[in-house]
């Protein structure tokens, strides 16, 4: 897959995220748009995960700690063939498996998440199991910057460094906004890189909406032998839709019909502007 194709996928994923949020009349719009490039690169370039190998003990593991951005995950999993995309028409509907957070009832989902601060401890245990069994799979977990204050993250960060889990990669989707206000105003966590470093992690900072930068970072894992790696991915909440970008109301806002049409037009236009 060329870089151009990868970039096209990001735009198409964004279109589908909005489509299914619109159909469901619910969803975490801004965060799904901020993290979709990360999921795109992971599932199309990095993870050794497919519908065919999903029961293999050797597959890579992706655990989405920021579970509320499930629309991004479901759109990518559908694209990778884990389930028919039409299933997403039932998103958040009565008795649907496609609920507002990741659930293992959907093929391709590793763990049930949604409560914040849970992904990293589970990912740590999973990476530890790989080390114990001398298996070479890698474990990835996507976290939000809004969930950084959860203490369980830092308990896990300590233990992952203690056990030298260089098969573990955390990605922080640092879009700078959470439901109430900016993360800086709600609870400051900067300098985030220094905190992870102090906890024994190897850190890289990238533009998390740039697939090239993301790919380069993933390709250089582990950043340091014997240390877990964290990618602090600087992203824009609502990325790709001009009126949603950096706007708090789109944390879980659903576009009305006019807004929806405008968003799809903008994304269609951006598709034509993609270069290699």
């Amino acid at each position: 897959m060329t870089t151009k194709e990868l970039k096209q996928r990001s735009v198409n994923y964004r279109k589908k995220i909005l489509k299914y949020i619109k159909i469901a009349n619910a969803g975490h719009t801004g965060g799904s748009l901020s993290c979709i490039d990360i999921l795109n690169v992971l599932y199309n370039k990095v993870l050794n995960v497919s519908p065919e190998n999903f029961s293999s003990a050797h597959r890579d593991r992706y655990i989405q700690s920021k579970g509320h951005c499930v629309e991004a995950l479901f759109v990518v999993l559908a694209d990778k063939g884990f389930f028919p995309e039409e299933d997403l028409n039932t998103l958040c509907k009565y008795r649907s498996h496609y609920i507002g957070h990741p659930t293992k009832k959907v093929k391709g989902v590793e763990q049930n998440t949604g409560a914040l601060g849970h992904g990293l401890p589970i990912a740590t245990g999973t990476a530890l199991a790989a080390k114990m069994d001398k298996k070479d799979f890698k474990v990835y977990t996507l976290m939000g910057d809004g969930e950084m204050p959860e203490g369980s993250n830092w308990e896990a960060a300590l233990s992952a460094a203690h056990y030298k889990l260089d098969n573990l990669c955390a990605i922080v989707d640092k879009n700078g906004l959470q439901i109430t206000a900016s993360t800086a105003d709600v609870m400051g966590t900067d300098p985030l890189d220094k905190k992870w470093e102090a906890f024994g992690w190897a850190v890289k900072e990238v533009n998390g909406n740039d697939v090239d930068e993301l790919l380069a970072a993933f390709n250089s894992l582990p950043f340091e032998k014997g240390k877990p790696s964290v990618i602090i991915a600087h992203t824009t909440k609502g990325k790709g839709v001009s009126y949603m970008e950096n706007q708090l109301k789109w944390h879980h806002g659903v576009p009305n019909n006019d807004e929806y049409e405008l968003a799809q037009k903008e994304l269609d236009l951006s598709l034509t502007e993609i270069t290699d």
């Binding site: 293992k104 590793e110 589970i122 199991a129 203490g151 308990e155």
Partner: protein, 325 residues
């Protein structure tokens, strides 16, 4: 009565082991033959009697430091990769601080962790309420896809650990640290999750107890016998799923039912039994013995249990009063 009840006078409790020790011994035996048996501890290997386990099987022990949330999250991750994980920490911390991890990472995500609450109930006695777990049955009963057990004696403990290691479903087990005599001299029972164990049978009253409250229930039965009151004693080691068939059976045979547990009277074994009985047309005289909703009296485990009548004398007195009503 087919089995002879062991008399308190015959027993020197110093010659018996705590269920916690049996847990450790059983886990070591299993670990020797199965490298996937893993103990995860939060600076709790000493209180969990797991120091020898750590010495014999260092590759099968994971220490996370004093961090209970991470303990359970890491255990869930290990279990998701096929490890047979025992997440071991004092019940008071494990089932309160890490309740959300038990709910989500273990039960909801269906990672078959064996959540092991050690020094449970008021085992820590005079250390006070921070160290007591009087809420764990109530909290964990309300979580779907989690079995809740409190084995009463060494035999039940060994069997429960063996079953837990082989189970592909999440289990919570709690143990105390007091030496526990066997409930039966000659024991040919079959242990199964969700199946209560009949220790002795009598038609006047059924005393249904769990964990370290079962032996006092047996002592109560002996005292009641002297008053010509015949008691059935049940070790309801599995609080969830509750053995409702056994409950229905004894409700049909016994005039009164008394429950006893080292737990709050709210939400534990007693209320679980009451809920079933009332909703299924059984209207026996009924009384729950446990720790009342108050600041727990200070003292040793035995003193606290005696204070609240979770003792041979206390349970017997409650039965006599109930039968008079």
């Amino acid at each position: 009565m087919s089995k002879k009840i062991l008399m308190a006078e015959q027993i020197n409790t110093n010659s018996y082991k705590a269920n916690l020790e049996i847990f450790s011994e059983t886990l070591q035996r299993l670990a020797a033959g199965d490298k996937d048996i893993i103990a995860v501890t939060s600076d709790s290997r000493g209180s969990g009697k797991l120091v020898p386990f750590g010495q014999k099987f260092p590759e099968q022990m994971v220490e996370v430091g004093i961090a209970e949330q991470n303990l359970v999250g890491v255990a869930a991750g290990l279990a998701s990769c096929g490890k047979k994980v025992f997440a071991v920490s004092p019940a008071c911390f494990l089932t309160a601080r890490a309740l959300e991890q038990i709910k989500n990472d273990v039960a909801y995500s269906d990672n078959p962790v064996n959540v092991i609450g050690i020094s449970a109930g008021v085992s820590y006695g005079a250390l006070g309420s921070t160290h007591h777990s009087l809420h764990d049955y109530a909290a964990l009963r309300a979580i779907n896809n989690l079995m809740v057990l409190a084995p009463a004696d060494n035999w039940e403990t060994e069997k429960a650990i063996e079953l837990a290691a082989a189970s592909d479903k999440p289990v919570y087990l709690r143990f105390g640290k007091k030496p526990m005599p066997p409930l039966k001299e000659n024991n040919d029972d079959v242990f199964a999750f969700g199946k209560g164990r009949v220790i002795c049978e009598g038609g006047d009253v059924a005393i249904i107890a769990t964990g370290e409250a079962v032996y006092p229930a047996l002592e109560a039965a002996r005292k009641l016998k002297e008053e010509n009151i015949n008691a059935t004693v049940i070790s309801m080691h599995t609080i969830k799923p509750l053995d409702t068939a056994l409950l229905a059976s004894i409700a049909g045979k016994c005039k009164a039912i008394v429950t006893a547990e080292e737990h709050s009277v709210y939400g534990g074994l007693g209320e679980a039994c009451a809920s079933y009985l009332i909703q299924n047309g059984h209207h026996n005289k009924f009384k729950i013995i446990g720790i009342p909703d108050e600041y727990t009296v200070t003292g040793s485990q035995t003193e606290i249990m005696d204070h609240y009548g979770i003792s041979g004398t206390g349970i017997a007195d409650t039965v006599i009063e109930l039968l008079k009503q």
